[in-house]
């Protein structure tokens, strides 16, 4: 091979190209390589030092949930044909992946009640930020009004990104567990680009999505700039002051698994629905990879981020699928692209659409009703314990917040010694003072009545012991 290249040695190829001053000139300070079996043992020993949801009775949620993942998803995701291709740049040999995207988009549109969906973005919180960027491109206004009921990670991600977008984030507090309607309406003004809430919100409460959407739309005046959508003209960005009656884009962060029983955002006046897709057939993986869903009203189609698969025909008239509306994307539009996203989460979105097919039209409703019933049971059971109160009285579907009259971290440690993880210490997650004493408990179909009863026993004992210890101290 060296002779064909016309060099005397492998080193010569590098010496002729990389200046000596920037050659490493030593070996990498990394461990030497291991055989397959040894790597397996090393990774297995690391895994053994983690307490997974298989190793304890876990009620952790707050954005990722221990739902059952059917075996056929493992099998399909490991197929070479889905696992190992790149993004489908050559549609003639990528019809499988493109059709999966098309089916995924169909499922997301149907779940959300919105007419357009892309083929996935990274995950939940960054999807919220991506939606805010769409709003900026749409109306050029600078203010983002966000409910404090958004996941803390969504709020933090939004702030990080908004700083780059040249936008400010105004947070609207909660009242009785849901977005304070008066503060929400008051916060939205002519310079509001996007108004964002979560459904259900971070504390498990079902928001009045219709009222929040209507209030956002009613807060501004003047003609909507929507007619300009898709013209390709850049809206004013980063300008001073109001742009004149821009309707804020109403964005909801939704939980797709609740949408079998919860009114879809598209029927509640929501313009853009985003969300974390992990609940749909994706494993926990310590937080990723999963996928972010992103659906919207038609007028936002040409400002959507990410890949979109579209239907067409080939030269012989056969039905086929292609990546479409690529003039939105970075590889074509470069600095004028609607997003910088390139690689997203195709394989995870495949798991999502397979999961939804597995659940099916009836299953997603039955599952939702089961979660509703078990969550109600758990909430009442736990709220009856001494030293425990509901954080709010709003309806919930599969997660709820409690206030403990004891240190949550200490209570969790006591429960852990009994093999129970009672939920998320919200203060540790959010850092908000108001969240001290708040425990967020998630119920999936994997948690039975017997599990919930055991949680009640262990949590009740832990709180009693902790309060006793506090009194003694």
């Amino acid at each position: 091979m060296l002779a064909a290249i016309g060099v005397g040695s492998l080193a010569e190829i590098f010496e002729r190209q990389i200046p000596e001053s920037v050659r490493l000139g030593r070996e990498l300070d990394l461990p030497t390589g291991l055989g397959e079996q040894d790597v397996y043992e090393h990774l297995r020993s690391l895994a053994a030092r983690n307490t997974s949801t298989e190793d304890e009775l876990s009620f952790l949620g707050a954005g990722m949930y221990d739902h059952y993942v059917p075996a056929l998803i493992d099998m399909l995701m490991e197929r070479s044909e889905f696992l190992t291709p790149y993004t489908p740049y050559q549609p003639e040999i990528s019809q499988g992946g493109l059709q999966v995207m098309f089916e995924y988009q169909t499922a997301i549109c149907e779940l959300t009640g919105l007419p357009v969906s892309n083929a996935s973005v990274y995950e939940g919180p960054s999807a919220v930020a991506a939606a805010a960027y769409l709003a900026k491109l749409h109306n050029g206004a600078r203010r983002i009004v966000a409910s404090a009921g958004l996941h803390p990670h969504s709020l933090q991600t939004l702030r990080t990104n908004a700083h780059g977008f040249g936008m400010e984030v105004v947070e609207v507090p909660l009242r009785e567990g849901v977005t304070d309607a008066d503060a929400w309406a008051a916060a939205i003004d002519d310079n509001t680009s996007a108004s964002i809430f979560a459904q259900p919100n971070f504390y498990g409460a079902i928001e009045d999505a219709d009222a929040l959407s209507a209030a956002a739309k009613a807060s501004t005046w003047g003609p909507s700039p929507i007619g300009n959508g898709g013209s390709g003209a850049r809206p004013p960005v980063g300008g001073a002051g109001p742009v004149g009656g821009a309707n804020p884009v109403v964005i909801a962060q939704v939980d797709p698994i609740t949408l079998g029983i919860l009114r879809p955002p598209g029927e509640c006046g929501v313009d853009v629905a985003v969300g974390e897709g992990q609940s749909l057939g994706n494993r926990l993986d310590f937080g990723g990879p999963s996928f972010g869903l992103f659906a919207a009203r038609e007028e936002y189609l040409r400002r959507m981020p990410g890949r979109i698969a579209g239907e067409t025909v080939d030269v012989d008239g056969r039905r086929g699928f292609v990546l479409t509306l690529q003039t939105r994307e970075q590889h074509i539009r470069r600095e004028k692209a609607t997003s910088n996203i390139c690689t997203s989460q195709a394989l995870n979105a495949l798991a999502g659409v397979v999961y939804l097919s597995w659940l099916g039209r009836r299953g997603i409703v039955e599952l939702g009703e089961l979660l509703l019933a078990r969550t109600h049971y758990a909430r009442e059971r736990l709220a009856a314990l001494a030293g425990v109160e509901k954080l709010h009285e709003q309806p919930v579907i599969r997660e709820f917040a409690l206030h403990l009259d004891a240190d949550v971290a200490a209570v969790k440690r006591r429960c852990a010694s009994q093999g129970v993880n009672p939920g998320v210490d919200v203060h540790a997650l959010s850092g908000r003072e108001d969240d001290r004493g708040v425990l967020l408990v998630a119920i999936t179909e994997r948690r039975t009545r017997a599990h919930i009863d055991r949680l009640a026993d262990v949590l009740g004992a832990a709180i009693a012991a902790e309060r006793g210890a506090a009194v003694a101290a």
């Binding site: 690391l46 056929l72 790149y86 009114r263 990723g288 990879p289 056969r318 850092g431």
Partner: protein
């Protein structure tokens, strides 16, 4: 994959062949147009029957509830979503069936430039699926996720060593997300110094994600010209580098597959005006263990774990885009990062008191794509330091060997190398002469390659090369495969000299043939109509 017999090929293709004549050269996984693959495409929503299902809901083991009481009517969905009604066997047949309409890395050569389509060892899937990794909740208490945090710590350390930059965040979800992190870090760095800068420089050879990221992070893009050797035009850089420039984003080796010999001078100019130097790590596979971005003067680098570190690409993700930065940029890193405490345990660090932290904050939920970390960490431990260096050396050897084969008579006069002489891990050919002399475009060549079971190289990028064809073979391909690919390129060119219509009408053996992308974009149909 066996080399193509040119004579046989020529017999088959001349005159204009019926489709079936292509079988001997067809996609090995497809054996041409099998009935399955040429079936009319029906979506899962068009299959099944009312009432059919796969899911069996667990029993209601708690007291029955009145749904309308727990969830008031106004919040409830009126009609079930029209999801498919299919049984498990139907789901499996459907998805296995459409999977066979995909070409994939396990089936054949995939020399897609800038994408580093190297083999994905199956061990990685096995270890990532261990319940201790796959079923670990991200909010598990750190003391009971020590294995995961140690893995992340070790991966941070390895990436720091490979890049020569000591401060790592694993959080970004993909390369472009890492770029966004890097530009936001640049913004935070300048703002912390009380400076307001407005421009970011990107070469005209840059990946599209670079300028797109710059806009999203609120900067103006200023393009830099490429010199005759394929590197940065130093004079152009000098004239544009001023104190309003926040950053220069660079790929080195660049998208022409060339290592910029002036890199130290470039770094000096950029640092001279107080700007940061950003390294797009898409091409890291060329230099692992050979040269390090930190030693070249870069402040920020992103890695693509789904390229250099063989996280499978999944047909468009998931990826993972960790970043490593110099000490001066370190205070602004996204949170959380994994740290090792004095007692040797591992923890997630959110910065010194959230209020006082200079961190840019979060870029996403939780800690990043851990499942990708497991695979890439397994890869790094399998290869070790010397193995990673070997990987880069062989990647560069393979690229230069394939380039040498394509410089042979019969190819080079139609597909000359656009810049340079040798290359790093990839190279860019220009299809300009081919278009002029053989009347086929790079697109036609790419489509004709599909009939021979090869994924085409990246086409029409970088933009400054006429009819560009960007080839990255990677280190995991054999010499036989490289030879077979070179032979097929030569054969297609020869075939085009005889009859350009064949390539122009290609492909013939794929599940569908050329698709009408214009119609798809004009009247977008992006979901199945449901009844």
């Amino acid at each position: 994959m066996s080399p193509i017999d040119e004579g046989h090929l020529h017999d088959d293709l001349n005159p204009r062949p019926p489709l079936e004549a292509h079988h001997p050269q067809a996609h090995p996984a497809s054996a041409g147009a099998t009935p399955l693959q040429r079936d009319a495409a029906l979506t899962i929503f068009q299959k099944g029957a009312p009432g059919r299902r796969a899911f069996v809901c667990p029993d209601l083991d708690v007291p029955p509830v009145d749904v309308s009481q727990l969830l008031p009517e106004c919040f409830r969905r009126a009609q079930p979503p029209r999801l498919p009604e299919v049984s498990e066997p139907e789901i499996v047949r459907h998805y296995v069936g459409i999977s066979k309409r995909n070409f994939d890395l396990d089936s054949g050569f995939y020399p897609l430039g800038s994408c580093t389509m190297k083999h994905n060892p199956r061990l990685h899937e096995r270890v990532a699926a261990l319940p201790g990794h796959a079923r670990l909740h991200p909010l598990q208490d750190p003391e009971r996720a020590q294995g995961a945090l140690e893995l992340m710590w070790n991966l941070q350390g390895a990436l720091a060593e490979l890049s020569g930059l000591g401060n790592v965040s694993l959080q970004p979800s993909a390369g472009s997300h890492g770029e966004l992190a890097g530009v936001l870090l640049t913004r935070a760095y300048h703002e912390d110094r009380g400076e307001s800068r407005h421009k970011v420089l990107t070469p005209d050879t840059a990946h599209g994600t670079n300028p797109a990221t710059v806009t999203m992070a609120g900067y103006e893009v200023v393009k830099l010209a490429t010199n005759a050797d394929g590197g940065i035009d130093i004079e152009d850089l000098r004239s544009k580098a001023d104190t309003d420039v926040a950053c220069l984003m660079l790929t080195n080796p660049n998208t022409l597959g060339l290592f910029d010999p002036n890199i130290s001078q470039i770094a000096e100019i950029v640092h001279g005006v107080g700007a940061t130097l950003y390294y797009d790590g898409a091409n890291l596979n060329a230099i692992m263990g050979l040269s390090r971005p930190g030693d070249m003067g870069f402040d920020i680098v992103h890695f693509n774990l789904h390229k250099s570190f063989t996280q499978p690409h999944g047909g468009g993700g998931p990826g993972s885009g960790p970043i490593a930065v110099s000490d001066r940029v370190a205070p602004f890193l996204p949170v959380p990062v994994v740290v090792q405490r004095d007692d040797a345990s591992f923890d997630l660090d959110y910065g010194t008191g959230r209020a006082g932290s200079k961190s840019i904050g979060r870029l996403r939920g939780f800690h990043g794509n851990y499942g990708c970390f497991v695979r890439s960490y397994a890869y790094i431990r399998s290869l070790g330091g010397d193995g990673l260096k070997d990987a880069s050396q062989v990647a560069v050897l393979n690229a230069n060997y394939l380039l040498a084969r394509l410089k042979e008579h019969g190819v080079a006069e139609y597909l000359p190398l656009a810049y340079g002489d040798l290359c790093m891990h990839e190279f860019v050919l220009s299809g300009g002469p081919m278009r002029r002399e053989l009347q086929i475009k790079t697109l036609d060549l790419a489509k004709r390659l599909l009939d021979f079971g090869f994924h085409p190289p990246t086409v029409y990028f970088p933009l400054l090369v006429d009819e560009a064809l960007m080839v990255e073979p990677t280190e995991t391909e054999t010499r036989e495969t490289l030879d077979a690919f070179a032979d097929v390129i030569a054969a297609i060119l020869k075939e085009a000299a005889a009859d350009p219509e064949i390539a122009r009408g290609a492909p013939y053996t794929t599940p569908v043939r050329r698709l009408d992308e214009v119609a798809a974009a004009k009247r977008p149909v992006i979901r199945q109509a449901l009844v």
